[in-house]
């Protein structure tokens, strides 16, 4: 299928979607609670497991 749209022009439904997201694009961002869980499960827990496994 050949795309005949002029450069820069989005299909109408995509245009509406992009507009809707642009209106509030920070709404879905990581929060402090997200960072807490990421640090807990991705940094603190692995560090504790590594120390436990090495020294036990």
């Amino acid at each position: 299928m050949t795309d005949t749209r002029p450069d820069g022009e989005l299909p109408p439904e995509l245009e509406l979607r992009v507009e809707a997201i642009e209106r509030d694009d920070r709404a879905g961002d990581l929060t402090r609670a997200s960072w807490f869980w990421l640090l807990l499960f991705g940094v603190v827990t692995p560090a504790a497991l590594l120390l436990w496994g090495w020294w036990a």
Binding site: D3, D29, T31, L38, P46, G53
Partner: protein
Amino acid sequence: MVGLSAEADKSAWPLLPSERNWGAWRLGIALGTAAAATWCYIIGEFAGYYLNFFQASTALTAGCMIGMLLAFLAAGPICARFGIDSIASTKPQFGARGWVIPAAMQLISIVGWNSLLLIFGAKSATQLMITLGVMPAGMGARELVPASTLIVCALIYLTLLRGATGVTKMSNILVAHVPIGCWMLYLLITRRWPELRLAQPVLAGPDKLWNYTTGVEIGITATMSWWPYIGAMIRMAPNARTVVVPVMLGMGAATALLSLIGIAGILVLKSSDPSEWLRSVGGPTYAIIALVFVSAANFGTAITGIYSSAIGLRNFAAVERMSWSTLLLITIAPVALVGALIPELFFARFGAFLAFLGVAFAPLCGIQIADYFLLRRRVIDIRAIYGRDPAKPYRSIGGFNPAALLALGLGCAIYLKLLNPLTYASSGPYRFLTASLPAATCAAGCYLIVTRLIGTRSADS
């Protein structure tokens, strides 16, 4: 106001918050079902070659959680924020045309691994049918595996005709195999604990730190290679806050937990595959349960993989408007052909290629993290991700960002210099740093430096 589109989850376009209706539990179940497959036993088996049960468990779990963190930080924030998939999230780094490189990595990786999983699953299903007496015992894998693969591919196709709804409906059923896996682990630990406690890894070297680091590296590589999958799943949730715990526990911890089956199996029974050892532990009934478990686990992963791959393909203009059923056929066809025509050849030859391809995900994650958090400081132009205007951001140089390409190449070279993923021959500071973490860090550093030097960032924004 944009209305709800029934086809939104079958396109690569950004999903609206109102269409992203997967809560934390639903997402966790879908991710857990995707994560639990035959490869968990293989991951555990490799760790069990170098470490005893306790150390392999801690090292592998730590590695899985670290790898999951990096894979999530790479694609997760963009995918969850804008409702887009992993491939679309690479356009800011790789350029308006350069994204085809991660897209090719995703396609080959998912199709390759799912071919392996489906062949594994077909073999288990064949064995199950023979055990149940549905098929005659005289029939061999040569005749039955191609037929089983085609049947499984047909089931996946029918399931995915409903898009993400098909994924979640099937996940709700197949997630039962995760507690079954925990039961199998409990069974092995309780019945063989004295042997398991004393079992020594067969390939452990004299350097204890090297052995331990290798356990961590196996975990990091395993969960970092979830990168191609997570975008298509987490974009179904309304925001990043909802997805963090399901990703870290549903995918990262579930992979680690089920890998313990492989560690225990290889240390005590010299086989990581529960469908092989459960018969000796619990008799024929347990063997049937294990075979059902393995078949269901691989089926669930393959469904998620094919769905993610189809969504990734949607980013190509040529298939942007193609019907979902046709796109699914195109995505499943390579898997079906491999399983039907050359299953044994594929097993023998392609696994090595996939192992080398896997090393590219570490630098890819490093590049994305550096770009999103350090270079762009979380400012993403969602319009430019989908626009084709040559004057718009993310065009870079001819559509390709040389900084990302150089960084990806350097990261892969550093990984391979530190560790051969097939032979596990290592060099340099591998025993202190692993191979994935230096590869990701150097790729991130290279990306930042080259971008500053050639001014790509200023040129594209």
